[in-house]
């Protein structure tokens, strides 16, 4: 430990560049991830509002759209090709740039070293590279919105042939190329981040921080990183083959294609092969998104219910179970590709098993809240909101996991409703919860609670108003990714609902400006944060409020207990931080507390 200390105290004067730009400090990198993620989220949100305007008012023209989008909205009506592009880029940005990099990039970076008791990440340099690769890929993805032929438009899943043949549609040309370049860089960033997180958690824990004394946030980040390290490379392999199909005349994903009545020479490939490679990433990816949010909410719910988390080990086992199962369910995205019905039933079986660990987590949240002394901070509200959304969206997941039902519901608004609730909104709520909870740790200031409450209630109501009606549209067979529903009689009756959804979406996104105002204002004008504003047990609250290299002056605190000693009977305060030795809490110690140290003695 001592050579660690000296190693980090070598740092001398910092320039602006080394402190704020090419910083190797995990706390600064966390802020960089968060702010980049917020900017990308705003871009993704604006895109969604634009296409919601189209869906809500398909026959009206809005002159401001032409001012904003130029040739993509001539006469104030959005161009159908650009509509497809917006849907594609909205999905890509939200899935990868906001909820993957923005969420786990921010909180893994901030919390892993602080909560396991490390001076910094295993390799601060690779950590810095990881951020800058992410930044570069964000810039390229945003840039692709501005090019003449428009950004990629084949959907965020970039299925061939639309993605493999550059002349298939406007966005399949340069837009798709930029998409692929951006994602290749993104994969490199995710890999560098992931191996860093794993090595830090395994190798750099402070003395006493055994795997079963780690906060659930760390477990979630560790398993998320493992998922990323194992699944992104398969997407990378798929993308390599796609690049050859696009530029080198190969036929990995192409066979028997006709464009304008003319046959392409490609022969022998299979577009379904790409779907397999894509969803081998794609399904773990949704857990990469939701697991950090689940970890964050475990921590926040236990802290603010002032109760130990219910079923700590069950929570860990269910996280491991979800992580493992996520690799063997990808076929449930492909029930309608003509797969063998027996294989379909295998994927259905593994998919439905995921309901078990998910339900364990849900019930453990509820049991933790049960008769707790709940502190309704904005972070707590968002964490409870996450549980609500996780249940609502999880239940529709059971519908969609059934092959026979999915064949009817596939590519309808039912699917849109399902994943926007369970993965999109729930993970976003986890991210908001994390920002409200750890803002004092990130910026040393407090956010405004009142604005936080407004933000929560408006967002929560808007999310349900936007996504809940979509279930009914989907059950009626309304397909997703359609530019307008006015050409089909049976869909026309949904216009009023679409308009309602669009209004709710616009109001919900306006509510996000409350958050942005609160976030940026508090950096400068927020109240100064106390040492431990939420009376929390985890190690990050023992580090000084002012950020410093190496996180703790002097020795890193040792850990003597698990992180959930809240309201322990016999103790004066309702929390006992992890670094308080058992000898100082004799009045509240239980025989089990010595378990790992003196378990054998006690049983004699």
């Amino acid at each position: 430990m001592s050579d660690h200390t000296t190693h980090h105290e070598e740092h001398h004067k910092e320039t602006f560049i080394s402190k704020y730009v090419f910083s190797m400090d995990h706390k600064m990198i966390a802020k960089q991830y968060l702010i980049t993620g917020i900017i990308m989220a705003v871009i993704g949100m604006v895109l969604s509002i634009l296409f919601r305007i189209q869906l809500g008012w398909p026959d009206e023209s809005f002159p401001f759209l032409e001012k904003l989008l130029g040739k993509w909205a001539q006469g104030g009506r959005i161009d159908p090709a650009f509509y497809m592009s917006m849907v594609t880029i909205h999905g890509t940005i939200m899935v990868f740039f906001v909820l993957t990099a923005g969420l786990s990039g921010t909180f893994s970076n901030l919390l892993i070293p602080l909560q396991v008791g490390a001076r910094d990440m295993a390799s601060p340099f690779i950590n810095m590279l990881s951020y800058w690769f992410f930044f570069l890929s964000s810039v390229i993805m945003t840039w692709s919105l501005l090019i003449e032929s428009g950004p990629a438009s084949g959907g965020w899943t970039i299925y061939p042939p639309l993605s493999a043949i550059p002349k298939a549609m406007p966005g399949s040309g340069l837009g798709m190329t930029l998409w692929l370049i951006s994602m290749a860089i993104f994969v490199a960033s995710a890999l560098m981040g992931g191996i860093n997180y794993i090595s830090t958690v395994l190798n750099m824990r402070t003395k006493g921080m055994s795997m079963t004394k780690m906060p659930l946030t760390i477990w979630a980040f560790l398993l998320t990183a493992i998922l990323g390290v194992l699944s992104f490379p398969v997407l990378f392999a798929g993308v390599i083959l796609l690049i050859f199909d696009r530029g080198f005349g190969t036929s990995f994903y192409l066979s028997d294609i006709f464009i304008g009545g003319e046959a392409l020479p490609n022969h022998g490939g299979s577009p379904v092969l790409f779907q397999h490679l894509f969803w081998f990433l794609g399904h773990p990816e949704v857990y990469i998104i939701i697991m950090p949010a689940l970890g964050i909410s475990s921590e926040i719910i236990a802290t603010n219910a002032r109760k130990p988390i219910f079923g700590y080990r069950a929570m860990i086992i269910s996280l491991i179970g979800i992580a493992f199962l996520s690799f063997i369910v990808w076929g449930h995205h492909m029930f309608i590709t003509g797969m063998n019905p027996f294989l379909g039933s295998v994927f259905m079986f593994t998919t439905l098993i995921i309901a078990v660990p998910s339900a364990v987590k849900t019930f453990n949240y509820l049991a933790t809240l049960w008769r707790g002394n709940i502190q309704f901070t904005p972070a707590m509200l968002f964490a409870i909101g996450l549980v609500s959304l996780f249940i609502t969206g999880g239940l529709t997941g059971i519908f969609l996991g059934n092959a026979s039902l999915d064949i009817n519901l596939h590519d309808t608004y039912f699917v849109v409703a399902h994943f926007h609730i369970v993965m999109g909104s729930a993970a976003m709520f986890g991210m908001f919860a994390g920002v409200y909870h750890w803002y004092p740790r990130l910026f040393g200031k407090m956010m405004d609670d009142r604005l936080g409450y407004f933000h929560f209630w408006l967002t929560f109501i808007a999310v349900y108003c936007v996504f809940f009606p979509m279930h009914f549209m989907g059950l009626d067979g309304v397909p997703r990714r359609y530019y307008s529903f006015t050409s089909f009689d049976f869909m026309k009756e949904w216009l009023a609902v679409n308009r309602f959804i669009s209004i709710a979406a616009i109001l919900g996104s306006l509510a996000q400006f409350i958050f942005l105002y609160n976030f940026f204002r508090s950096i400068f004008k927020g109240k100064k944060a106390p040492q431990n504003p939420w009376n929390s047990n985890t190690l990050e609250w023992t580090a000084p409020v002012e950020h410093m290299h190496g996180n703790w002056p002097g020795e890193i605190p040792w850990v003597y207990r698990w992180p959930y000693d809240y309201s322990k009977p016999g103790h004066d305060e309702d929390f006992i931080p992890q670094n308080v030795p058992l000898s100082q809490t004799m009045s509240s110690n239980l025989p089990g507390d010595y378990g790992t140290h003196h378990g054998s003695k006690a049983s004699h």
Binding site: A122, G208, L230
Partner: protein, 227 residues
């Protein structure tokens, strides 16, 4: 409750109890292992795609007829040239092992000697691959064009050559990156970087990468040349 207080607070020094690395490796080597795991998934993705495409075809070219030449031998000698390539790559892994071993003894000149042999082995492998690619290209094979017939005499899908050039190319790119890394490390050895640092762990880390690339070649070799 009557236990001695200092005894209560004692933290057992088991590998997983924090304060030390549970696997007794430093973080850099662990990161290399995780990177290799991830890279193994990339190659698995490519090779599984190869299997899927190959077995969705009714027939496939016979490798013994496609790869039957070597410099100076025009046909009729399957597996000879690729055998030499494989031998070279495996020998370069042996010299890498010797470099790592010399690193443990902190024998700078020996490390340098074995690193040079490893670099030469890597370059020789790349040279062989370049010859083979060039040879196949002259026979009309390239991405998108396949002159070889299926075993049953029917016209083959271009995916035979597409996959061959893509996957051996991707592997060759790994070998090339490995050679570049080895050269950088070798320069550091000569400059005395690791002598000053007191250990030659970096040799072990690039060694892991080099053995991995070698291992991947065994699979690529099996799938393209043997079966």
């Amino acid at each position: 409750m009557t236990t001695n207080t200092s005894e209560i607070d004692e933290i057992k020094s088991t590998p997983w109890n924090g304060g030390r690395s549970p696997f007794n490796v430093e973080y850099g080597k662990m990161m290399m292992w995780f990177f290799l795991l991830s890279d193994a998934f990339t190659f698995s993705g490519l090779l599984i795609a190869y299997g899927a495409l190959r077995f969705s075809s009714i027939s496939w070219p016979n490798p013994d007829e496609v790869f039957q030449s070597a410099p100076g031998i025009h046909g009729g000698a399957p597996l000879v040239f690729v055998g030499i390539m494989t031998f070279i790559l495996i020998m370069s892994s042996v010299t890498m092992v010797l470099a790592v071993e010399a690193g443990h003894r902190k024998a700078k000149s020996e490390v340098s000697k074995w690193m040079i042999w490893t670099i030469i082995g890597g370059l020789a492998f790349l040279g062989c691959q370049a010859w083979e690619w060039n040879h196949l290209h002259h026979e009309g094979a390239w991405w998108g064009s396949n002159p070889f017939l299926n075993e049953d005499g029917s016209v083959a899908s271009t995916n035979f050559t597409n996959l061959f050039f893509t996957i051996t190319g991707f592997h060759g790119f790994h070998v090339f990156s490995g050679v570049v890394l080895n050269v950088i490390i070798w320069i550091n050895v000569l400059g005395g970087t690791y002598e000053r640092r007191g250990h030659y762990d970096m040799i072990e880390k690039v060694g892991l990468y080099w053995h991995f690339v070698d291992l991947v070649w065994v699979f690529v070799f099996t799938f393209f040349y043997l079966v």
